[in-house]
Symmetry: C2
Subunit: 370 residues, 2 copies
């Protein structure tokens, strides 16, 4: 069977089309024959379905077998391992290049369109859109956001899925194992809104003390902690205090009106730098959404969140772990793996709050087994 690599695709005739495309979903039809992506040809070589392909590139080798294809620039190891892993799981899939007009990503990241089990490129459904990266790659927050949004648009040029496909980041580690992370834009909403009178407080070096708090400040709205017993002062974190002061619900003892707000923010910046402003923005956005953020320190995160707090005596399980990051943050896959694994272990969902000057993008990542 003649299969020729032209530097872009591996091209075959009618027989190759029937054997590889029609019956097993490799490549796409072209001129009655088939055009295979190099990673698809490498997989056919790996399986022993073809021994090698002819290399028609100027100055190319005569033939390319599996090892030569995998060792060549035409096939990235990362793409091969993801392609193989998904085939091993019983999926048909096609490599595509993301539409450059729809993404901010310009480094020609390959994505895979993965069809539901039992379906193929000739059908109309997509189960997953998978971006494949090495554990040594860096992953821009914007890339993850684009991946999630592109999946939500659902369709691509040739497939008009009824259900939106799932956006997936597939990370190939140094031992070639693949970890799949589902990327989504979560809806963050709760019902925690409790009224209480404004309080007077005292600023300490890294927290704020409310000597005489109304009961609902802590017991219902879940701000701060009692120093010890039920009738003790409530201590607030700086971010809690700054959020309350911004809503005119807290004034500092001895500060002129409005000045307390500024003093708390100044203290926050002194102990935490720019991070304080980002965390305050995210904290306030969560409160506005009716969600209570509490410290996520024990989980290595910024916040854990409670959606529907009626009373602190009956809190229920916290749902999200939130990590606050600048909007232009670049992730290292290992850190994503760490966060997602930990969140899973404590039955929470990992959410990244990507904070720009006037906007927060929420992205959730979860381990996925396709």
């Amino acid at each position: 069977m003649d299969l020729t690599f032209d530097g872009d695709h591996v091209l075959g005739g009618t027989e190759a089309r029937e054997r590889f495309y029609d019956s097993r979903g490799y490549g796409s039809p072209r001129d009655g024959g088939v055009a295979l992506a190099p990673v698809e040809a490498a997989h056919l070589c790996f399986r022993g379905d073809i021994a090698s392909v002819d290399d028609s590139r100027p100055g190319g080798a005569d033939t390319l077998d599996f090892e030569a294809l995998l060792g060549s620039a035409a096939v990235s190891e990362v793409d091969f391992f993801v392609y193989k892993e998904l085939r091993d799981r019983g999926f048909y899939l096609s490599p595509v290049r993301p539409d450059p007009e729809q993404t901010t990503d310009d480094d020609n990241l390959v994505e895979f369109v993965v069809y539901p089990r039992g379906k193929g490129p000739w059908d109309d459904e997509i189960a997953y859109r998978v971006a494949a990266v090495s554990e040594r790659a860096t992953v821009d927050a914007a890339m993850l956001r684009d991946l999630a949004r592109e999946a939500q648009r659902g369709a691509d040029d040739t497939h008009t899925a009824t259900d939106n496909p799932t956006a997936v980041l597939a990370v190939v580690d140094e031992e070639s194992e693949v970890t799949y992370l589902e990327v989504d834009e979560p809806t963050i909403t709760g019902s925690t809104y409790h009224e209480f009178p404004a309080v007077t407080a005292r600023l300490l070096s890294d927290r704020v003390l409310v000597p005489d708090p109304p009961e609902s400040l802590h017991e219902r709205a879940f701000y701060g902690q009692r120093l010890d017993r039920d009738d003790d002062p409530v201590q607030l974190s700086l971010v809690e205090a700054a959020s309350l002061a911004g809503d005119d619900l807290l004034t500092l003892d001895g500060a002129v009106s409005g000045d307390g707000d500024q003093q708390i923010r100044d203290r926050g910046r002194a102990v935490e730098g720019d991070r304080f402003d980002r965390r305050l923005r995210v904290y306030s956005a969560l409160r506005t959404a009716g969600v209570v953020p509490k410290t996520g320190f024990k989980f290595g995160a910024d916040f854990r969140t409670y959606a529907d707090v009626e009373s602190v005596d009956n809190l229920g399980h916290s749902e999200f772990l939130v990590r606050v990051l600048p909007g232009d943050h670049t992730f290292v896959p290992r850190d994503l793996s760490l966060d997602v694994r930990l969140a899973h272990g404590v039955r929470k969902r990992m959410v990244f709050a990507l904070t720009d000057e006037d906007d927060i993008t929420w992205l959730s990542l979860e381990r996925l087994t396709p």
Copy 2:
């Protein structure tokens, strides 16, 4: 009862000594009376045992009550919350300053000497040496190492414990909760030594392929992974391949003798930078100790380790998660919390391999409930 703050200690007479030191382990005897550290006086004020102390400092306030003490520079909030938390757990404890000759730390970090329950400063045993830090502090690797070593020396000037006390890092988060992390220098040793003939391999862009491996390379010594089935080539990570090449157990196809070693290291540095050399040093040290390191990617770590591998079909549980860091690394407590929590959730012990030019310091951290 007269209690006077002189800027350094709160001093009281015989009655105060009897009430606070003799019966409850606060302070230390001085001239028949008692000298309390400010944090101890703040705790007595907080409990209501004393209402306030006189301020004898030039230009000081007349009296200092609990809020004034906590708001003053004499008492750090971090120290107070750790002191209170350990008292709440039923311990007597004394603040000390680490011996500057024994540590590289010169920023006057306060440590607490914590006595076993039922014992006090007049006894001869120490249960814990606790360094208290804020979640916003940075923690030098050297500080953690010194803390572990000082605890292992066991004694201090006045206590000659028979058992070594446990070294503890106590982190106070922004909501004033305390997380205790036990710091130790673990013994890392295993029994995995299997012989096999040297192999010939092919360098790909981010891994190495061994087309015709002896069975014990993977199945017993647990290097690499089979590409797929039992008789397939073995793929090695770059760090595995570099370690084998350094031990003359791997040569690259077509490379002159010794040159393959260099080629693999060069490739490792190209894809990973300086980190590659550190990871290779740690990888090789673990192998020398009879321990098998495999990727820790799914746990967000560098390696997970197996101490006693007879056969990959019967691996047993991996014991450690290893994170490789430069010797002068500065930790953020939140990251420590994340790593330790994750390791605990997967029943492993978190180990940091602090890598200097010619030396590796191993530190393990584990969550502790005193």
